[in-house]
């Protein structure tokens, strides 16, 4: 039977050989990152380095990865510092990276362009997708570093322009390996929170590697799925990131982003003033219009009123005339009646009337009426009757007793 060894012995042997190979222990490898994953629990990075002809598995442990100044991305050309040996369990030849950095701006730019093209072809940058920002947001979600200059700039600008709004800060790492996940969490948390009406993702200026995390495909996709509008402001004017393309609005700097997120208080004050003036003018012209209408009506109303008054007085006059007329007529008739009555009475009392019935009046020589008892013996008098008078002389005067008088009266 031939001599054999176990798999573990083989791998141990191979590893020993490789470990003793000095060049493998101090390598600088140039390659493009692919199949990049960051183990969610351990924090170790696993990826494949490749060039046109070959590839090699690579691992970077958490404590080393934490020191990275940029977020590795698929398609990024990097220089990896480390050693290569065999991973005994799997018999896999792999690189243990101590440190790495992007290799050449051109390479990074190529990766950037590739991702941009890919997302663009998926329609993530479509202008039709861009949503308008709320004109006066009550809450703005801010994804940035709690200690960064960007937050300071945003605070200053918003305090000055529109302090009515509230900032809801999702403090994140904007740099290093943790940055991508941290920013993702921040965006998702703010999108899930009911308060913010828009989300501002920002950080101040830095090197291209510092800003590289904002070219993350995962962040781009998370932003494209946001229910709320997202404003991006990363670095300076000249820095464009994938986030800028996918965001609803890209601002050149954190300060500029703060400006576009809120209205200008002076402008709003001015608008409020104009609105108040318009309302004031409106009520004034309304009043003026009412007065004018009233004034236009006034002469006509006076005329009508005067006509009515005249009419009424005319009526009164008519009635008064009629009543005066009827009153005077009835009074005249009444007086006439009285007169007729009085005439009748007067007629009945006319002493001459009695004469017709055979009575006579005694008159002295002066024509005065005398009673019989006044006559003296020998006196002459005239006895006047109805249609004749007689001259007489008194022979004797006999004064009669009351009984005789009564009797004679009765007889009469």
């Amino acid at each position: 039977m031939a001599e054999y060894i176990r798999v573990s012995a083989l791998n141990a042997l191979a590893r020993r050989v490789l470990d003793n190979c000095e060049p493998l222990n101090n390598l600088i490898i140039c390659g493009e990152i692919s199949n990049f994953t960051r183990h969610s629990k351990s924090g170790h990075l696993y990826f494949t380095l490749k060039d046109e002809q070959a590839s090699v598995k690579t691992v970077m442990f958490r404590d080393k990865a934490r020191l990275l100044g940029f977020a590795p991305q698929n398609g990024m050309l990097v220089l990896v510092y480390g050693r290569a040996t065999l991973y005994e369990r799997d018999g896999a030849f792999q690189v243990y990276a101590e440190y790495m950095r992007p290799f050449g701006a051109g390479a990074a730019q190529m990766a950037f362009d590739a991702l941009r093209k890919k997302l663009e072809s998926e329609g993530l940058f479509d202008p039709a997708r861009k949503r308008p920002l709320p004109p006066m947001p009550a809450y703005i979600g801010v994804v940035t570093s709690k200690t960064g200059a960007a937050l300071q700039d945003v605070r200053n600008v918003i305090s000055r322009r529109w302090p009515l709004t509230r900032l809801l800060l999702a403090p994140v790492n904007v740099q290093g390996l943790e940055a991508e996940q941290s920013i993702l969490d921040g965006i998702r948390a703010l999108d899930a929170d009911p308060r913010p009406e828009l989300i501002l993702v920002t950080r101040g200026g830095g090197s291209k590697e510092d800003l590289w995390v904002f070219n993350s495909e995962r962040i781009a996709r998370a932003v494209s799925k946001c229910r709320k509008p997202v404003v991006s402001a990363v670095g300076h004017e000249i820095d464009y990131t994938i986030l800028d393309y996918v965001a609803d609005l890209r601002a050149p700097t954190p300060s500029a982003a703060a400006e576009v997120c809120v209205p200008d208080m002076r402008q709003v004050r001015q608008n409020l003033f104009i609105l108040g003036q318009n309302i004031q003018k409106n009520i004034q012209s309304r009043f003026q219009m009412c007065y004018n209408n009233l004034n236009a009506l006034a002469p006509q109303r006076t005329l009508t009123a005067q006509k009515a008054a005249l009419e009424e007085r005319w009526q009164n006059l008519q009635e008064l005339t009629a009543s005066i007329r009827s009153a005077s007529t009835s009074q005249l008739r009444q007086k006439g009646d009285t007169l007729v009555h009085a005439a009748v009475v007067a007629e009945s009392l006319n002493p001459y009337g009695v004469l017709a019935r055979g009575y006579a009046i005694i008159r002295d020589k002066n024509g005065r009426c005398r009673t019989v008892s006044q006559l003296k013996v020998g006196q002459t008098f005239t006895l006047q009757g109805h249609d004749a008078a007689a001259r007489c002389t008194v022979d004797q005067v006999d004064h009669l007793s009351p009984e005789e008088t009564d009797e004679s009266t009765q007889e009469l």
């Binding site: 302090p163 900032l167 809801l168 403090p171 703010l190 309302i279 009412c290």
Partner: protein, 70 residues
């Protein structure tokens, strides 16, 4: 008059008041009432602007991460 919830609602109501006042079918009586309401709203809005001070709150993104999902 119902007090506005916030500045924005106050301004929106003012714009609505102006629109109603410009409508010729609005009676003078109603216009006068709207005018009184507008005066109060403008005072409210100005006071709100004068007293406003930027407030900052914080959200712990890592806490909500679990529910937000990956």
């Amino acid at each position: 008059m119902k007090a506005p919830k916030n500045f924005e609602e106050g301004v929106a109501r003012l714009q609505e008041i102006l629109r109603q006042m410009q409508d010729e079918s609005t009676t003078l009586d109603k216009s006068v009432k709207l005018y009184a309401e507008a005066a109060q709203l403008i005072a409210y809005c100005n006071t709100t602007l004068e007293q406003a001070k930027l407030q900052i709150e914080e959200i712990d993104a890592a806490m909500t991460k679990e529910t937000a999902g990956e």
